[in-house]
Symmetry: C2
Subunit: 118 residues, 2 copies
DNA sequence: CTTGCACCTCACGTCAACGTCAGGTCGTAC
DNA sequence: GTACGACCTGACGTTGACGTGAGGTGCAAG
């Protein structure tokens, strides 16, 4: 599978895929002509990377954690980092819930005011 | 209240406070000598700004929404934007929950594997 | 009056995850 | 053999929320 097709299937840009390779997040075989050739599993890999990015992990963190995420084997240090990241995400979720609640109240306020105006 | 004290009380940097002013998120009176002088309400304001930033809103969005957040009065367009942002936050929370669950499973996996090794 | 910390205004630097452009190559269909 | 889209490698540009000096001023204390 070539890079354009992987890009379309995964929904990320060609540039992003090359960036992932540069960051050692994703490998590729090469055709004799030098073009990237991905196996089918690359699709899952890319989706996993996207999930971790979406969770706010940096590429440095992802490259450190990807091995144990895909193999299930981790050193104590990696386990620590996994837990740290999970807790960071949980904290972020709490922040977002606070903000959402706050915005929700503002919306109620505003809506109520406009109802009064009707 | 001067900028250093506001910074310490709110937990944001002096630079950030000046940046907020530059972005029209925060006003300040000036002493005859040209130094910023904040009223006590500035503290809540800064915390509100931080909450909205933490929720992933840009300073442009915040500057558009701050008036109705503090006054409770909004145009229909502002209400739309409020709802859009709230929904965006909700979607982000769903993403984060997915990622957290995923990491949680990885942690379980890894932990189980090490238990087996014991 | 001078020490010295807090404050001021530019204005360039940073960092991550790509976007974008230049200039050249691959591969396959005609 | 040529047309042409997909691909290649640099390498510079972008964006947001500040960080970080440089060089100068405000102000309360001794």
């Amino acid at each position: 599978m070539r890079i354009g097709q992987l890009a379309r299937r995964s929904g990320v840009s060609v540039r992003a895929l090359r960036y992932y390779e540069e960051q050692r997040l994703l490998e590729s075989a090469r055709t004799p002509g030098g073009q990237r050739d991905y196996p089918d599993e690359a699709l899952e890999r890319v989706q996993l990377i996207q999930d971790l990015f979406a969770a706010g992990l940096s590429s440095r963190t992802v490259v450190e954690l990807l091995p144990c995420v895909s193999t299930g084997v981790a050193t104590p240090a990696m386990l620590d980092q996994l837990i740290t990241e999970r807790d960071r995400i949980a904290a972020r979720i709490r922040d977002l819930n606070r903000a959402r609640t706050k915005l929700g109240r503002v919306i109620e306020n505003v809506t109520a005011a406009s109802v009064v105006q009707d």
